[in-house]
Amino acid sequence: MRNLIRSRLLIIILLLIAMAVGAITYAVVHLIHTEKIGHLYHLTSAQATDVSNEVEELFKGYLGRLEVFSRIMASSYLSPEQKSELVSQLFDDDQEFVAVALFEGESEKAMFYDAASLEAAGLDKADLINHRRRHPFPDSFFASDDAYIENSTLHQGVPTLTLSIHHALGAGKPPLVSSATVRLGGLHRLAERSGTGGDIFIFDGNGRLLTHSDLDLKDPSLVKLPRVEKSQGMVQAMEYELGEKEMIGAVAYTRAYNFMVGVQSPKSTANLSFWELLKIWLVAALGGLVVVALVSLLWFRYITRPLQKLTEATRRIARGQFDVQVETGSRDEFSDLAAAVNQMAVRLDQREADLKQANTRIVQEEKLTAFGRIGSCIAHEVKNPLAGILGFAQLALRKAGSDSPLHKYLSIIEKETKRCQKIIEDLMKFARKEEAEFEATDINAVIEDAASISEKELGPSHVSLETELTAGLPRFMGNGQQIRQVLMDLTLNARQAMGDEAGTIRVSSRQLDSGQIEMRLRDSGPGMSQEVQDKIFEPFFTTRPSGEGTGLGLTIGSKIIQEHKGAIWVESEPGEGATFVITLPALVDDKMMAEEAHKSAV
């Protein structure tokens, strides 16, 4: 698999995000954990308070019924049967009641009890009376208006509490005391509701354990809530050690009846919830990471799309397709790169075109050189036979006399042989490695020279020759005679192309922005097709009727211009005339000299 940049970026980003999320998760969870311990304090305190309130309510209920019993028993309107009937209803209403008794002072006046319950525990009425005898009411009971609650458990199977209230009957009379013995079932049900998994303990006013959430508590030492200053309605939370375990606990005191409710929870409950919490958070974080990864993947694909375009573009360039232009549609480093690639493509395209052109030129030059070499060899061999043919033809002509029928034939032989001779001479001229002497030459002088010689040689004509020269041109390094010959050949060609039509040949000179000197020879002739333009400098190419010219004039001319490191070409449209253009390199910084020369000439 290829190691893409976007995968690498993705991995880096995911690692960073994972680290950040991990750190944040840990910090948050730690914070929540700290909070959790505080929460546990609060929870245990609240539970202790709740349970203590419920205990209070429970006993308020018990005492309410005891009050009803007391009223029933004290009533003088009810018959004993009616009283008994009402009390038994009390027992039915509340299953917790085991027995109710009425005392006048210490002496028992009446007692109702749930015989079945007592019997199940192996007890009877005597046991209850005996218990009362053994545990007389304390004086403090009669001194206050509060109810007296004592642990009256006679048998492990039936743990009970006895609640007593008293009513003063008047001075000198012993107070009337009502007692109810209730099972601890109701209390135990309260203790069982351990919401946080913590243990709940309920103690009586003397600090004795009445009940706890775990009935099967085997080790009473586990119930070891630290003692605190007893205060009604107060709740206090604390941390302490129980054996090896760290605990968090709270004690609450009821506002009445002196019950104390303790709640304790191991601190590890909070720790446990810490790991639970961390797990949830980590799952959430992982989910988040997956989402981030997917989004990033799409995003990176978007970001690296220009890179793919650039890759495709460079591949095309490598295949030689330089018409590539990359558009990234963005303004960033990629667009800079794209611009550079586009520029490179344009340059390569240009360079390839230049190379092709240069190559064509080199091939053309080599072709001409080879042609010249072969031509020169042939020319040497052909010249002697030509000398023989021409010589004998001329001798024969002389001997035949002008009235001989042979005269015409011999004249043709002579004429054609002379043409052969001209061709051979041009060929030799072309092939010869002439070391023409180069010197600083004024192009305008050359043009004027050529024009005047042409006019003289060709005589009066219907074609006018005009010059349009720019004064003060820099000179060029070259051979004036050769350039003049080229111009004269071109002039001759133009005149022949124009045939019998009247017209103008205009020769102009000027300097180009590139610094080169340019000559243009423009005729008003019929012009030429692109095909002719392509071949016009090739050897033996001619548009004239056979027998006229050698077809080497322009070939030689183009060779001369090449030797001057210049260029020659033709611009033409059929019917629009033709313009031969020659450019030559100018002598650098020669303009001043040329101007001076021009002035002195004037």
Binding site: H380, K383, N384, P385, L386, A387, G388, G391, L395, Q421
Partner: protein
């Protein structure tokens, strides 16, 4: 009527020899031909000619070497050099070695060739008042 002037014509092309012999036959010339420089030199050694017409490129020794040899043997002998290689170099060397004329082949006009040969022959006649029989 003058005595016929002996002329040695040297060329490796037989038809050139024939052509020139034909041209010279119209005048008062006694023509001898040779097809190589070596042959011409041998002939000239045996009997010097007042007028020699020679080609340059002939396989063996060149016309210019022959010219040098002739001028050494008989400085008064007139030599016309002809060549199909009418380069400036050949022209200059021929004149430097003492050639009287230089004719480029093919000849432009055979009548002009005859005129040139006759003019040089006049010079030879002056330089060689008593021609060797």
């Amino acid at each position: 009527m003058n005595e016929k002037m002996p002329v040695l014509i040297v060329d490796d092309h037989v038809f050139i020899l024939d052509l020139l012999s034909e041209v010279l036959a119209e005048g008062d010339f006694l023509t001898t031909t040779a097809q190589s420089g070596e042959e011409a030199r041998e002939i000239f050694r045996q009997r010097p000619f007042p007028l020699v017409i020679s080609d340059i490129h002939m396989g063996g020794i060149s016309g210019l070497e022959l010219l040098a040899g002739i001028k050494e043997m008989a400085p008064q002998a007139q030599v016309i050099i002809m060549s199909s290689d009418a380069s400036a170099e050949n022209f200059t060397r021929a004149i430097d070695l003492g050639a009287s004329e230089f004719m480029a082949k093919p000849f432009e006009d055979i009548s002009r060739v005859a005129t040139i040969i006759k003019r040089v022959a006049e010079k030879a006649r002056v330089k060689n008042p008593t021609p060797v029989p």
